[in-house]
């Protein structure tokens, strides 16, 4: 099972087997299948461009077989690579089938060689990069940097329109003010209550509520209406509180109140 009997050319040398075994010990030390392939390719002791991909595939597959033998679990990507290399190997060994679609074995091998060379190049560049004169190790920045003070200056702005609108706002507010002042002609129920509470103690007899209107509110009709309504409402409130009795002899007759005897 390990050896492909039909493929005697590929019979693994003892050296290759030993080498595979050595790699197995270090399987965790590889950064993936490509890294392993790169390491394997070094054993060929040739320029990466001249590496035999076929031989590489063989080496890799023997590595995987060895791992299986030793019951070492390989990560999935190692197995994916193994399957692909097995496919590649067959492509490289069998005469090309004109019917078959897809890339030729040579194309696939060339790409693998490219990937290996590229990875190798990146490794070298990484090493060169890390070997450069580095800041904080070979080259130094200013040891006592001076603080740059951030001075925040706020610039306020306003437009002429803002200004006029602001003024308009204030002015319109002034213009409303008379509406507020109009309340001068309104006698509120609270005001009527205040007034009547002070006077009710003296109302031992029936008295027309009209006599409770505040001074000076009888002449102006608007003021009289407001005062009368407020006084009437206040009277009802006082009745509710139980402080006065209220009566009207007939429709349109005067409304009269009298102090409730039993209070206080």
């Amino acid at each position: 099972m390990n050896d492909d009997p039909t493929d005697n050319v590929e019979a693994l040398s003892v050296a290759e087997r030993l080498e595979a075994e050595a790699l197995i010990v270090d399987v965790d030390g590889f950064e993936g299948p490509l890294d392993l392939l790169l390491t394997l390719s070094r054993t060929q002791k040739v320029d990466l461009r001249k590496v035999s991909v076929l031989q590489l595939a063989r080496q890799y597959l023997s590595f995987v077989d060895k791992a299986k033998e030793l019951r070492i679990e390989l990560a999935a990507d190692y197995l994916v690579m193994a399957a692909w290399l097995a496919f590649l190997k067959s492509r490289l060994l069998l005469p090309p089938d004109p019917e078959e679609e897809g890339p030729s074995g040579e194309e696939m091998a060339a790409h693998l060689a490219f990937q290996l060379e590229r990875l190798q190049a990146m490794r070298e560049m990484a090493a060169r990069l890390m070997g450069r004169d580095r800041l904080g190790r070979d080259i130094f920045a200013r040891g006592i940097p001076e603080r740059v003070e951030h001075v925040k200056r706020v610039s306020y702005s306003a437009t002429l329109l803002d200004l006029m609108q602001a003024y308009a706002r204030i002015r319109t507010r002034d213009e409303f003010r008379p509406f507020v002042m109009d309340r001068d002609k309104v006698w509120t129920m609270e005001q009527a209550l205040d007034r009547m509470r002070g006077m009710i103690g003296f109302a031992g007899t029936w008295t027309d509520i009209a006599s409770y209107l505040p001074d000076g509110w009888s002449d102006d009709p608007q003021m009289r209406r407001s005062a009368t309504a407020a006084t009437f409402a206040a009277s009802l409130e006082l009745v509710k509180e139980g402080r006065v009795h209220i009566r009207q002899e007939d429709t349109f007759m005067p409304i009269e109140i009298r102090r409730a005897e039993n209070t206080r």
């Binding site: 951030h150 002429l160 507010r173 507020v180």
Partner: protein, 224 residues
């Protein structure tokens, strides 16, 4: 990358030592002073430089080299450091200008001053219907949009405020008289917002004091 052994004619008198030539020593002092996180003593310089160096001499040269430059070699106690030249301290400030809208209180105060000048703070408050905070007036003074005018010849001799040239400049006005009048404001639709009859004043939500504002005569003030 390699330490170039500078001008050979520079320090021919010290061939006995293996020490770097003086120019090289100066470079070393320069680099050490630059990179150190604290001022460095001559003793420390000598300790860090190759054997046979004379840090004090190199330092003296370096100090001379930086005379009149943007940074100088200065003595700090027993130690030495590189510092920004005193006259360039202003460069160590980074000014960021943040544009902000003037607050409502400020713009209203400003508007009143512009339309009613010269006007006292009490009058401004009367017209606004709320008190004017000291900060608001200070801000406008600081911006140089208002300044103090003559004192009023009334009891207490209160100061008045007037708008400045800077203000006129900013708002593109030739004089404060160019400010549009009430009629024009109305014509421009700026005064149109009439309150619903009997409703509360529409103005500022925040202006609790608005209703207490007296009916005082802004008309009088207008006659100015």
């Amino acid at each position: 990358m390699s330490a170039d052994q500078g001008d050979p004619g520079e320090a021919p008198q010290e061939p006995l030592f293996d020490a770097p030539i003086l120019a090289e020593q100066e470079r070393m002092v320069e680099a050490i002073l630059f990179a150190s996180s604290e001022p460095v003593t001559v003793r420390e310089l000598n300790a860090r430089m190759p054997h046979g160096c004379d840090a004090a001499e190199a330092l003296a040269l370096l100090r001379k080299r930086y005379e009149g430059r943007g940074v100088n070699i200065v003595r700090v106690g027993d130690s030495w450091a590189i510092r920004t030249a005193a006259d360039l301290g202003f460069l160590m400030q980074k000014e960021t200008v943040e544009a902000r809208k003037l607050s409502r209180a400020a713009i209203e105060t400003l508007a009143i001053i512009a339309y009613h000048q010269p006007v006292t703070r009490a009058e401004v408050e009367e017209i606004r219907g709320v008190s004017v905070s000291r900060g608001t007036v200070d801000q406008l003074l600081e911006m140089e949009w208002i300044r103090f005018g003559r004192r009023r010849m009334t009891p207490g001799r209160p100061v008045t405020f007037v708008v400045t040239e800077t203000f006129l400049d900013h708002f593109g006005l030739e004089s404060a008289r160019d400010l549009p009048g009430l009629k024009e404001l109305r014509a421009a639709g700026l005064l149109e917002s009439r309150p619903p009859p009997g409703g509360a004043p529409t103005s500022g939500e925040g202006d609790v004091d608005a209703e207490e504002a007296p009916d005082a005569g802004q008309s009088e003030l207008f006659e100015d």
